[in-house]
Symmetry: C2
Subunit: 159 residues, 2 copies
């Protein structure tokens, strides 16, 4: 393994609130990241813009006041905190871990970040961004598999 | 690495005549397959059906006689032999290597074989089956990323 361990690979894992992404991270830690190597694991959480986050989570006749928006932002932040906490806990044995938060359409942000962060490989769950948001956003993983410039690993949970 | 090395992962690599697939295999050998582990590397070459193989490789007014068909089959076999030889040579350090040849539309055959062969992960180049055939077949890797039941790694060559 010496040849591999000497690599300094930059492995970007896209995480979100879905179980698939946490499973993908675990799979990556077990199968791809070499412990005690110079690999850098970059965790990327992308906060979708508020419009995407809200429009399917609340009834259509729901009146969006400043209070509601503040609550939505708070909820969004809590979700992000929970995801980031779970992911970083899983990586506590890894020497080089970076945490990044992006904002915008996850499809675009993830593809852009692979280039900006010099990722050698992008790892993600097979769907991403939950069942409801997925309907709106389309499959994030499909988009990234086609558009990211680096290698892409789509981890699927066994049925 | 002991935890990982004890895995008995079945890694299926789809190979074809394109440079991308040989690059994908090399990447996989360097980054995913653990030497001296119980991993099994399965190389899968899929021969497209003759109709697909011929219709873009020869002019439209080309008369297909029995001789021509025999020549096409011979050429197809030579291509297959060359691909398989290159791929197996790359894997000469790997303990458990299996070579499989399938026949049919690569998109369907590859997805079916992941299940039939109990693959934990499918590795493939970002395109597959050459520029001309790709136009007809559509992107094999896109199809497999969406439809294979196991995890899928699409290896892209750096530009």
């Amino acid at each position: 393994m010496s040849e591999v361990a000497e690599n300094e690979r930059r492995i970007l894992v896209a995480i979100d609130e879905g179980d698939e992404s946490i499973y993908a991270l675990s799979w990556c830690l077990k199968n791809l990241v070499f412990q005690n190597s110079k690999d850098t694991l970059i965790l990327l959480y992308v906060k979708p813009p508020r419009a995407v986050f809200s429009s399917f989570d609340y009834p259509a006749d729901f009146v969006i006041t400043a209070d509601v928006m503040a609550n939505m932002d708070k909820h969004s932040q809590q979700v992000a905190d929970r995801v980031i906490e779970t992911a970083t806990r899983l990586c506590n044995n890894i020497q080089n871990v970076e945490m990044k938060v992006g904002y915008g359409d996850p499809r675009d942000v993830i593809c852009e970040m692979t280039q900006k962060l010099g990722a050698d490989i992008l790892v993600m769950g097979s769907h991403g961004y939950g069942v409801i948001k997925r309907t709106f956003l389309g499959s994030v993983s499909n988009h990234c598999a086609q558009n990211a410039k680096c290698s892409v690993l789509i981890v699927k949970r066994p049925k």
